[in-house]
């Protein structure tokens, strides 16, 4: 998206130095500590990753009642699982699962900014935050999905969820064929971040 603009050659070095200068000043002035930023990053690396979402999806695939509870009261259903403390913490306060099924495909977007269910999916990938995706996925979601490699049948209803309010959406994709004999743990390994945002389906195992 930014190819149209001219940038100074030391663009990244300048930003790197400026953010380091800012962090150093904030530590010196007693606003944050020398370890605050590392601890924040460690929190996401250790606990808040798409693995949480994959576990939720796999449980929904093997337990129909759970799948139903998951869409009707997402926070309560998520709380049933043995996941890290904080699933209802920052950006998880109002989780909302939306389920794919025969003839239905869901896509999560945020046209105003980059709202994302952190505890379930971790931090958002760059494309999700890109103004081009946000603009185009609202008006031409099928074309966007097709460009990325998901050619939805015209008979499928595509439900686009714009995260403009408190809900933080994630998609429960369809369970791929050929997985009947797989354990819940094995199914967890199949679920991708992209499928839980709705730009992909979960591929059948090779």
């Amino acid at each position: 998206m930014t190819a149209e603009f001219a940038y100074p050659p030391d663009r990244e070095a300048q930003s790197a130095a400026r953010v380091r200068a800012l962090e150093a000043l904030l530590i010196e002035k007693g606003i944050i500590t020398g370890t605050t930023v590392d601890k924040v990053l460690g929190y996401f690396e250790a606990d808040m990753t798409p693995l949480n979402g994959a576990k939720i999806v796999a449980r929904a695939w093997v337990d129909q009642d759970f799948a139903q509870r998951l869409v009707t009261n997402t926070p309560a259903a998520v709380a049933e699982l043995d996941l890290p403390i904080g699933m209802d913490g920052a950006e998880g306060e109002h989780l909302q699962a939306v389920a794919d099924g025969p003839g239905v495909h869901n896509l999560v977007i945020c046209t105003l900014c980059s709202c994302f269910p952190w505890p379930v999916l971790g931090l958002p990938p760059y494309w999700y935050k890109d103004p081009t995706f946000r603009a185009r996925a609202a008006r031409e979601p099928r074309v966007v999905l097709k460009e990325i490699g998901l050619d939805l049948d015209p008979s499928v209803e595509l439900r686009v969820w714009d995260s403009s309010g408190h809900s933080r959406f994630f998609v429960v994709p369809e369970r791929p064929s050929g997985t009947d004999r797989m354990s819940e743990e094995q199914l967890v390994g199949l679920v991708t971040t992209e499928s839980m945002i709705g730009i992909a389906q979960v591929p059948a195992p090779a």
């Binding site: 913490g89 920052a90 990938p125 209803e157 595509l158 439900r159």
Partner: protein, 250 residues
């Protein structure tokens, strides 16, 4: 109008950069961490739902910093600059601007230190600070800052009602996507409870607790003949953004 309020449906942007990484430069992680720390130390958290003991946390940060503040900064940008700068470049600009404008740091000392780190990228950061500051930030991440406040006493609309999104003035900040403004949709869900916002958005209309609705729009009602068949678009909309459908005006 503000372009940033009307991104949905903007045409001619070309292909999407399908970059899967969260951070494309190491430095981006640091500004993300600073933003989260500011949210976790924000003085409004004393009144947030877990009633964090924020005034007892040994930080010199004594300001309100929420998603609203970060978003307001992005919405205040020149729209060309909004497209020019990468996601975390916008954060860096907004957050440094905040600390300078609030008097926590000066632009001069920031420039001096930037020059220092530019010439000495390996120079370590200071190691000061009390652990309870970090503990508060992590507690905020684990317990959050829900906008839900109290029961919804008498929501104006019910499931199935036809509603039209207002076209509120383009003030500092909004949660009403431009592409649904003036458009009519159907209430799909009335959320339990009332929902406040991190700040008052003034004439835009949100801030105090009010009902929120999931509203379903037919793409043809938004994009006309440019709409793709076989899709529906949903938005969570605060009650202040809605009025009874003006069907006869369409």
């Amino acid at each position: 109008m503000k372009l940033q309020h009307h991104l949905g449906g903007l045409e001619n942007l070309g292909p999407i950069n399908y970059e899967r990484r969260v951070f494309v430069e190491d430095w981006e992680q640091r500004i993300f961490g600073i933003h989260v720390a500011m949210m976790g130390l924000s003085d409004h958290l004393g009144e947030a739902l877990p009633e964090y003991p924020i005034d007892k946390v040994p930080t010199n940060f004594r300001s309100t910093w929420t998603w609203a503040d970060l978003r307001m900064g992005a919405e205040a940008m020149n729209p060309f600059a909004y497209f020019q700068y990468r996601y975390y470049e916008k954060w860096l600009g907004g957050i440094t601007g905040f600390f300078v404008s609030q008097g926590y740091i000066t632009e001069e000392e920031l420039q001096q230190k930037t020059a220092l780190y530019l010439n000495n990228p390996e120079l370590p950061l200071p190691s000061d600070g009390e652990e309870s500051v970090d503990e508060q930030v992590i507690r905020y991440l684990r317990e959050g800052d829900s906008l839900r406040r109290g029961p919804a006493e008498s929501p104006r609309f019910s499931v199935g009602d036809r509603v039209t999104a207002r076209n509120v003035p383009p003030t500092d900040h909004t949660r009403l996507p431009g592409n649904v403004r003036g458009r009519t949709g159907t209430v799909e869900r009335v959320f339990d409870g009332n929902y406040g916002y991190y700040c008052s958005t003034g004439p835009d209309g949100i801030g105090s607790p009010m009902p929120v609705y999931a509203v379903r729009f037919e793409p043809t009602d938004i994009w006309g003949e440019l709409a793709e068949p076989g899709a529906v678009i949903y938005a969570d909309l605060y009650e202040a953004y809605l009025e009874p459908a003006l069907e006869d005006k369409q």
